[in-house]
């Protein structure tokens, strides 16, 4: 259950801060793949939490 709270915190935190993602589109020098990189990190975190949850509930 605590794992779920971390995920809630991450998703809602991401929701509030996400408008910053869009600034890269028209800004020179910022890598075009930056939003996808952040997204990928979030997925990796989610995989890790899923493993942790699986161990918790075993």
């Amino acid at each position: 259950m605590y794992v779920y709270r971390i995920m809630l915190f991450l998703v809602f935190g991401g929701y509030l801060l996400s408008p910053m993602l869009m600034s890269g589109w028209a800004t020179p020098g910022i890598a075009w793949y930056r939003p996808f990189l952040i997204w990928g990190i979030l997925i990796a975190l989610s995989v890790w939490l899923e493993q942790k949850r699986h161990l918790d509930e075993r």
């Binding site: 259950m1 605590y2 794992v3 779920y4 995920m7 809630l8 991450l10 998703v11 991401g14 929701y15 509030l16 996400s18 408008p19 993602l21 869009m22 890269g24 589109w25 028209a26 020179p28 020098g29 890598a31 075009w32 793949y33 939003p35 996808f36 997204w39 990928g40 979030l42 997925i43 989610s46 995989v47 899923e50 949850r53 918790d56 509930e57």
Partner: protein
């Protein structure tokens, strides 16, 4: 591009044929079910979310709003990242109550068929633009590929093929909540195809048009900057609203709800999808900017192609065009199939069956199946008509946004289902109608009619006037929806049924069903009752199915089990006809037996649910649950039998000790009425429950383990919580105590007999002494040798009577026998001969022979008469046990300090269970009336007085049968040997 119409048709039908082939392969088992049911396949099937919006609409959106297009992917990814707290509870509900659509869920939660109808209508209105969007992309791409004037007919042909596929492979069963492996596999294949196509297009852009990522970045920072600067960046508010709309779409859109919950593989698969679907969407989203920038770099003209179809501008190659077309076709066809399946189910349950209940259909299953198939065709054709009349006049983004804003009107409702048990039907309907009206007037009607939107901006929000229409409508309609919902729910009353359903749906609440008996007494009664509504065949199949799922037998009659059967039947019927109709049927034909009873909580069921919820509990709830388990374990493992009954005499608890005593497992009787408990428990427990007495002492009962004496104690359960009354009964096994008491009484009786015998013996002594005197006198009165011998025998026998009488008196007085001071030196051979002589006098069993193997030279100190008595007792026992013509051997050997005498017979031997007690008084193996049970105990006492010991071997070592009595006696002191007792183990 100048592809022929026939060529495009061939490409499209070729692709759709591949889908048919895939469906056939899964259905025929050519693809193993472990692959078809793999979580990865399920994740790919969830990729149905990536509709034509993902392949074309996102390009259009990206060209207008830059990274704003990501909202479509990130919103739904967020919802799936929250799968454990958001999607799993919905999955639990839909699986438990067999709910196959959002309308089913709302109708179940708010206990109203009209709510289901309303949600169906909202879904239908909201999804039509999305359906039109899918078909429009088909029409547009065909037009772009062939330059044909009217591609609508070709789009219609594709729609018909898709409808056929949905009918053949998606509507094979009348039951809606049944996983269709073929459909899941086909949609997974479509997702894979569109992913590969999109990644290929992205790769073509990145490496074909640009020279890799570095070149792309260089172009973006220089020439491409002009294109990038031309986009209109979304305001944070708009962006967040979009994210929320797409977040809601993850579980509100009919196709997503259907794929996530109605076709769900397992809890584990859904948890895996929590990260794997966001990964899939990431891969789908990644090529969008690459294709856009590639097309811009290649000089594609958005004016000619339309910004949604810039992929065609990547290259003139027919392969690239085919990839763009197939990506769109895969996305559109998958979405059309699942939306058609989902909407047809909703329309069937909440429009058709509500208007026309299925009572007494001759073949209910077939009727439902064909209705559903017709509805699938109607939905897809409805989408095509909407495209022809409305969609064609609008761009993809407008169509999609109208659809997503419309479905988002159900968001407050579903959040209330999960997290607000206080919400009620009136509030939900009022809120939904408020939001829906604003959406219809602001978005849907203008889309349909072309008229300008009618939006009333509330005072204080005038700054919204300049914002895009979709944004204003979304904000105002949702705000009105939520506020009305909360207000009306707070000021209106919630019905009992709604409250119960709210508890069943709420994430934090445990379902607390009430405990009432059914009118139906068993499964057969259920079938009979339901036959009125469903027909005999369907009723039998449904009841049998429910009983099989619960592993119940026809003999089951426990009220608890019948309540579970009722719930299961309702859930199964819900999967067939929707929750509203199912509830109506079950309430009407399987009613509870109320009879003025107050319904109390079904504690056993609540406990079972708590066991299942354990991993979800945290903090105080987990601590309390730990305490509950501890107390439960204490009662369950109490070493005294314990059972508890509710006020309605339904058995609530049956602990382990009672299971051991009764031989009845708790699981087989918990939930039963006390009258239906197996004999003798129903009668016994019924007696203490109905009588005023709080105890029943030592009640004799015949159990499987034999006759037992049970003491029952009763206490009434009346605490602060008056709802949960009843009685608790302790069952103690007092059998051993009872047997001890009986033995004590028996012993007392024997003691009385002993005292009586002593008295009688005393009285017998006088006449015997007289007889002995007369026999002695006779010796002086005659010289006849025969008379003299008779007189001698009379004297010997009277002496023996006197000794027996003396022994009996001595035994009755605590085993005090003759004093050892009377011991004399005795020849053992003579003692044995005398005993044999006396045995022969009895004149019974003359066939038995005796052999005295005692040496003449062995002497012991003792009382000759007592030792004769010992041998007489041993020999008479051996004689009685011997077979016909049997032989009894008396052998005596000299040992160190003593003699070892044995009496061996060839009889059947002695039962081991009796052997240990043979030296105890009144123990005998002989038939009643043939033995007193005193012979061996007297022999034991006499041998003990002679400082010897005696033991039994049966059978003797080296013999198959027979018995040997062994005695050890000390040698006479006059022989110069001090008595020395041998090893007592012998």
């Amino acid at each position: 591009m100048n592809a022929s119409l026939g060529g495009v048709f061939l490409l499209g039908t070729g692709y759709l044929s591949l889908l048919f082939l895939c469906a056939l392969a899964v259905e025929r088992g050519w693809i193993p079910s472990r692959i078809a049911r793999h979580p990865a396949v399920y994740t790919l099937a969830l990729g149905v979310y990536a509709s034509a919006w993902a392949t074309y609409g996102s390009l259009e959106f990206a060209s207008q709003s830059g990274y704003g297009y990501l909202a479509y992917y990130l919103g739904v990814a967020g919802a799936f990242l929250l799968a454990p707290v958001l999607l799993l509870p919905i999955q639990r509900m839909t699986q438990t109550y067999q709910l196959s659509s959002l309308a089913d869920l709302f109708a179940f939660r708010f206990r109203s068929r009209w709510v289901g109808t309303l949600i169906t209508i909202v879904s239908l209105l909201a999804v039509l633009p999305l359906l039109a969007l899918q078909i429009q992309t088909l029409g547009d791409t065909i037009h772009l590929l062939t330059q044909a004037g009217s591609p609508a007919l070709l789009a219609l042909a594709f729609c018909l093929l898709i409808a056929l596929f949905a009918i053949f492979f998606g509507a094979r069963h009348s039951r809606l909540h049944a996983r269709h492996d073929t459909v899941v596999a086909v949609i997974a294949l479509e997702s894979l195809v569109k992913l590969v196509a999109m990644l290929s297009l992205g790769a073509i852009a990145l490496f074909g048009i640009f020279n890799g990522p570095a070149d792309l970045q260089n172009w973006l920072d220089n020439e491409g900057l002009r294109h990038r600067m031309s986009v209109t960046r979304l305001e944070p508010g708009q962006w967040r609203t979009l994210l929320m709309l797409f977040f809601a779409a993850a579980f509100l859109m009919p196709h997503m709800f259907h794929m996530t919950f109605a076709e769900t593989l397992s809890r584990r698969a859904l948890l895996k999808a929590g990260w794997s679907l966001p990964l899939y969407l990431l891969l789908m989203a990644l090529p969008i900017p690459l294709i856009l920038w590639g097309a811009q770099h290649a000089g594609a003209d958005p004016g000619t192609l339309g910004s949604a179809y810039l992929g065609f501008g990547l290259s003139d190659s027919p392969w690239v065009a085919s990839l763009v077309f197939i990506a769109g076709l895969a996305a559109a066809s998958g979405t059309l199939i699942i939306i058609a399946l989902a909407l047809s189910g909703m329309m069937l349950n909440h429009l058709v069956l509500v208007a026309h209940p299925p009572s007494q259909q001759p073949n209910l299953y077939r009727w439902l199946l064909w209705l559903r198939r017709a509805l699938i065709a109607i939905v897809i054709l409805g989408g095509w008509l909407f495209y022809r009349t409305v969609g064609i006049k609008n761009d993809l983004t407008s169509l999609g946004l109208v659809s997503f804003v419309g479905m988002a009107q159900c968001l407050p409702g579903i959040l209330a289902v999960l997290y607000w048990p206080g919400a009620n039907r009136k509030g939900m309907v009022a809120g939904l109608l408020a939001g829906l009206s604003i959406w219809l007037l602001g978005s849907w009607w203008p889309l349909l009619s072309g008229h300008p939107p009618v939006i009333i901006i509330p005072p204080g929000l005038e700054m919204l006037a300049t914002e895009p229409t979709w944004y204003i409508v979304a904000l105002v309609s949702l705000a009105a929806n939520i506020l009305t919902f909360i207000l009306v729910s707070l000021i209106t009353r919630t019905s009992e049924g709604e409250r119960a359903a709210a508890e069943a749906c709420s994430v934090d609440a445990v379902i607390r069903p009430k405990r009432l008996p059914l009118l139906a007494a068993n499964g057969e009664d259920c079938k009979r009752s339901l036959a009125t509504a469903l027909g005999r065949d369907v009723a039998e199949r449904e009841v049998d199915r429910a009983m099989s799922a619960l592993r119940m037998t026809d003999e089951e009659h426990r009220p608890y089990a019948l309540r579970r059967l009722r719930d299961r039947i309702q859930a199964n019927l819900s999967g067939l006809m929707g929750p509203s109709v199912a509830q109506d049927i079950v309430d009407r034909y399987l009613p509870y037996h109320r009879d003025g009873q107050t319904a109390t909580d079904d504690i056993h069921f609540v406990e079972n649910r708590l066991e299942a919820y354990r991993s979800r509990l945290t903090g105080l709830a987990r601590e309390l649950d730990g305490l509950r388990r501890y107390h439960r374990r204490t009662l369950a493992q109490l070493p005294i039998g314990l059972c508890a009954f509710g006020d309605d005499d339904e058995l609530l608890m049956w602990n382990d000790a009672l299971s051991d005593l009764s031989g009845i497992e708790g699981n087989s009787v918990i939930g039963a009425h006390r009258n239906s408990l197996p004999s003798p428990w129903g009668e016994l427990l019924g007696r203490i429950l109905t009588e005023d007495a709080e105890r029943l002492y030592k009640q004799p009962v015949e159990l499987t383990i034999g006759r037992r004496y049970l003491t029952l104690h009763k206490a009434s359960l009346q605490g602060d919580d008056l709802e949960r009354g009843g009685s608790v009964i302790l069952v103690e096994d007092h059998s051993e105590l009872k047997w001890l008491e009986d033995e004590l009484v028996h012993a007392e009786r024997l003691a009385s007999i002993g005292r009586l015998a002593a008295g009688v013996a005393h009285e017998i002594g006088n006449p015997v002494t007289g007889i002995s005197s007369l026999a002695q006198n006779l010796r002086y009165d005659t010289t006849d040798p025969a008379i003299l011998e008779t007189a001698e025998h009379i004297q010997q026998l009277t002496d023996r009577i006197s000794r027996i009488v003396n022994s009996l008196v001595g035994f009755a007085h605590g085993g005090r026998h003759a004093q050892t001071t009377n011991f004399t030196r005795i020849n053992l051979h003579q003692v044995i001969d005398e005993a044999l002589h006396l045995i022969h006098l009895a004149r019974s069993r003359q066939d038995v022979s005796y052999r005295n193997e005692c040496p003449q030279s062995l002497y012991v100190d003792g009382n000759a008469q007592q030792l004769v008595q010992v041998f007489v007792n041993l020999l008479s026992n051996a004689r009685d046990a011997s077979p016909d013509d049997g032989q009894i051997i008396i052998s005596v050997t000299s040992e160190e300090g003593g003699v070892h005498a044995t009496v061996t017979d060839e009889g059947s031997g002695i039962d081991p269970s009796v052997r240990e007690n043979l030296f105890e008084p009144f123990t005998t193996t002989k038939a009643v009336g043939e033995g007193t049970g005193l012979g061996l105990s007297l022999a034991y006492s006499i041998v003990a007085e002679h400082q010897g010991h005696i033991r039994i071997e049966s059978p003797p070592p080296g013999q198959a049968h027979g018995t040997r009595i062994s005695m050890w006696l000390p040698l006479s002191k006059e022989d110069g040997n001090a008595p020395h007792e041998p090893n007592s183990n012998r």
